[in-house]
Symmetry: C2
Subunit: 148 residues, 2 copies
DNA sequence: ATTAAATATATCGTAACACGATATACATGC
DNA sequence: GCATGTATATCGTGTTACGATATATTTAAT
């Protein structure tokens, strides 16, 4: 058994591969969205809005948190998506400051289609992604659990 | 055991969670780069250049492919990185059209630091990422291999 | 060899998008 | 009820990836 830490070249290589695999997935996703007539970010917005657990109030702030965006960027994203009839705002009755987000029928249909495609693609890509991740762990002095 | 296909709500939920986990990692990565004084894309460029296997000639086109960018965008990214002394171009002798990319000492140092941080963070995040991925597989009619 | 097609990189103008700063409406604490 | 905080909205700005195009060099064709 040889040392894991020393050769940093290996770590760079595994990290680079991991990011490449990730990028491939993201490229696929961006293309799929475009072909369905959506901006990639709109797709992500729809997904986070529709994918939220039923109790949580789906507000702008919630979407912003899930998308990793600032609130104002999310407002603009919602504006665009509303204009294209993908999503709709309804004022919250409990708290009139809040805007509650819901998908339109059109939004639901597009998302459905995209989600199927993504599930299929992820089934293809998952093994490589997981393998790349595991390799990073191995070469970063991880507690050496069950490799492969 | 209950059916996997029918309720598309579960698939949306698992996909949303997967993307959220992914976004968390990317946010971490963007922050780490910024704090090290790099644009996130510059970090990715350095990683792909330094992480390439030793035989492959690291050209603009190679970097573009690995980063999922168009060639011209990569040229601009390299321009910026060269100006900031992170990377250097040397004309290829075999083919004078090509520019060979290499990290500067400074580039190597920054990347080293970032790579350590990323390896550590990925060790933390990997389990959740892998779990989220597996759940997508489960809810997309996958051949039901070894769950959890 | 000379020209034509292909490949690699570079330049330039443009548009999308996320952001900071700021504004407004409503809610909550004291 | 006034002050402080929270949620969303608006506006101007800068970065960046892109398409279209240009230039240099290599490869292919005749």
């Amino acid at each position: 058994m040889r040392s894991e830490i020393d050769d940093s070249g290996r770590l760079l290589h595994t990290l680079a591969d991991f990011r490449y695999e990730l990028r491939l997935f993201l490229l696929f996703s961006e293309n799929a969205a475009q072909e369905a007539g959506l901006q990639p970010q709109q797709h992500q917005l729809l997904l986070q809005v529709a994918g939220a657990s039923h109790e949580t109030p789906v507000t702008i702030a919630f979407a912003a948190g899930r998308l990793g965006l600032k609130h104002n960027s999310t407002v603009e994203l919602v504006d665009r998506s509303e204009r294209e009839d993908l999503i709709e705002r309804t004022a919250d009755k409990e708290d009139k400051r809040r805007a509650i987000l819901r998908l339109t029928r059109k939004g639901r249909q597009v998302l459905q289609k995209l989600s199927g495609e993504h599930a299929r693609e992820l089934n293809e890509m998952a093994p490589r992604l997981v393998r790349a991740l595991r390799r990073v762990q191995v070469h970063s002095g991880a507690p050496a659990v069950e490799v492969l």
